[in-house]
């Protein structure tokens, strides 16, 4: 059909520095988000996502400068998530050069915020990030609920209903993270991905659990995702983005090479 499946490296940024140690050969400063973003761009990343994990609100402004610097040098789409709570937060990130913002917790507490942000800035720049955890027991029909605060707080909200509602409210894209798989490196929860992909009309980014290149392939073929997001497999230099894309292409997935 012609639309390439996207590979999106995700960087956690704390007070302007990339954390979880990115390991490239010959990198001058492994914590510099600009240098890392430039490298990912050169390797062929289709998009870059920054997750601002800064705890202190005093240092929030730092993320704006990071985005400004990256946007001056790296000409692919940039998404920024973490701490986006008000229309002003959205506006500042877009003005700094972000193309999209990812809204997570704030959407759960105030779903109308998503609608307001989409009305004001357009659905194309509003990504709703959903952290979902499997709550069905063995033998029961599959069911997932959304969790906030990095997967610690249950909300009782059904993940599929929530995804549908967020798309109705104007989310242009859903970033779906399986809290069961996040950090495990055993692969995506593709039953979850597939269920959401069949539920929402907007593109789906699958996240959580990638440990090898075959997992990326499965996110597309089994999960029905439009894009796959991963952090550690790229950061630690196990695989380059280019290797990931070639592997996916060899397995029949259309990618931008």
């Amino acid at each position: 059909m012609g639309l390439a499946k996207r590979i999106i490296p995700c960087l956690d940024v704390d007070a302007g520095r990339v954390v979880k140690g990115v390991k490239f050969v010959e990198i001058r400063d492994a914590g510099d988000p600009v240098e890392i973003a430039r490298r990912y761009n050169e390797e062929g990343a289709d998009e870059i996502t920054f997750l601002d994990i800064t705890a202190s609100s005093d240092e929030r402004e730092t993320m704006v400068h990071v985005v400004e610097q990256v946007a001056s040098e790296v000409f692919i789409p940039l998404t920024v998530g973490g701490g986006i709570r008000t229309l002003e937060d959205v506006r500042r990130m877009l003005m700094a050069g972000a193309d999209k913002v990812a809204i997570n917790t704030a959407a759960v507490f105030n779903p109308k915020f998503v609608r307001e942000a989409a009305d004001r800035f357009g659905s194309q720049c509003i990504v709703v990030a959903i952290d979902a955890k499997r709550v069905s027991g063995k033998g029961e029909p599959l069911r997932w609920e959304i969790f906030t605060h990095g997967g610690r707080k249950p909300t009782g909200i059904d993940a599929l209903e929530w995804a549908r509602k967020m798309a109705d409210y104007g989310a242009g894209e859903i970033l779906l993270t399986s809290m069961d798989r996040d950090g495990t490196r055993i692969g995506f929860d593709n039953e979850l991905n597939r269920a959401v992909a069949e539920t929402v009309p907007v593109p789906l980014i699958a996240s959580g659990g990638v440990g090898n290149l075959q997992h990326l392939v499965e996110g597309i073929t089994e999960g029905g995702a439009d894009a796959v997001l991963a952090a550690s497999i790229f950061h630690f230099g196990e695989y380059s983005i280019g290797e990931a894309k070639r592997y996916m292409a060899e397995h029949g997935i259309e990618v931008r090479l």
Binding site: M1, G2, L3, A4, K5, R6, N41, D46, A71, S72, E73, F75, I76, P77, L94, M95, A96, G97, A98, D99, F121, G122, S123, Q124, C125, G172, E173, A197, E198, P201, V202, P203, L204, T221, G224, D226, A227, R256
Partner: protein, 214 residues
């Protein structure tokens, strides 16, 4: 004197990305994000970006009194429309229960059909978001050094349907084959975002800042 490039500012869309990308390919140029008529009139080239809904864009163009400046620039100097900056050049959009557009190019703007089927048994996702190929259906100075079929970054739910096939410079397939680049004299307008399309996009912008239409 260094050339001046005006990026039209009417409050719609990520103008910073566009101006940064232009500065990147034209480091000696004076690039200004502006709605100032005098400056636009004196500029050597005009870039017309845009995002958001058709009706909001038209209202914002009205509020910034840019209607006349756009018409003049389209007649007089190299002009690059991007995304909504392509769509609003047409006559009419289906968006927002029907919106009258600038009517500079004959044709209309329609929505991708939700009934189209996509891949792996799923319906076609709307918006069309991501990297798609652009087939160069006519030679043009802005395609110089850009391989035919290169991928560019798209984000849109509506696409243009020009009345005159001869205006079509690029075609993309997403459920349907649609016009993703239009060209007429000194005007070039694209549905995709060259400022977000890595090397292919920067090459197109570089070609634009050097373009000398006869």
């Amino acid at each position: 004197m260094n050339q001046r490039i005006a990026v039209l500012d009417y409050g719609m869309g990520n103008l910073r990305s566009v101006s940064k990308a232009i500065e990147h390919v034209a480091p000696d140029a004076e690039v200004r994000v502006t709605d100032d008529h005098d400056w636009i009139r004196k500029a050597d080239r005009v870039v017309f970006p845009g995002q958001g809904a058709a009706r909001d864009c038209m209202a914002a163009i009205g509020r910034h009194h840019l209607n006349q400046a756009i018409r003049e620039a389209v007649e007089e100097k190299p002009f690059l429309g991007i995304c909504m900056g392509l769509q609003v050049l047409m006559e009419f959009s289906e968006e927002n229960e029907g919106t009258e557009l600038l009517g500079i190019l004959p044709g209309r703007v329609i929505r991708f059909s939700e009934e189209m089927s996509g891949e792996r048994g799923l319906p076609l996702k709307i918006p069309h978001m991501g990297w798609s190929r652009v087939e160069q259906v006519q030679p043009h100075p802005l395609w110089k050094g850009v391989e035919d079929g290169s991928r560019f970054y798209f984000v849109h739910s509506y696409h243009v349907v020009p009345e005159d096939e001869r205006l079509v410079a690029g075609v993309t397939e997403y459920g349907v084959r649609f016009a993703s680049a239009l060209a007429r004299d000194n005007l070039f307008a694209v549905q995709f975002h060259p400022e977000k399309s890595a090397d292919a996009g920067l090459r197109l912008l570089e070609n634009f800042v050097r373009w000398m239409p006869s």
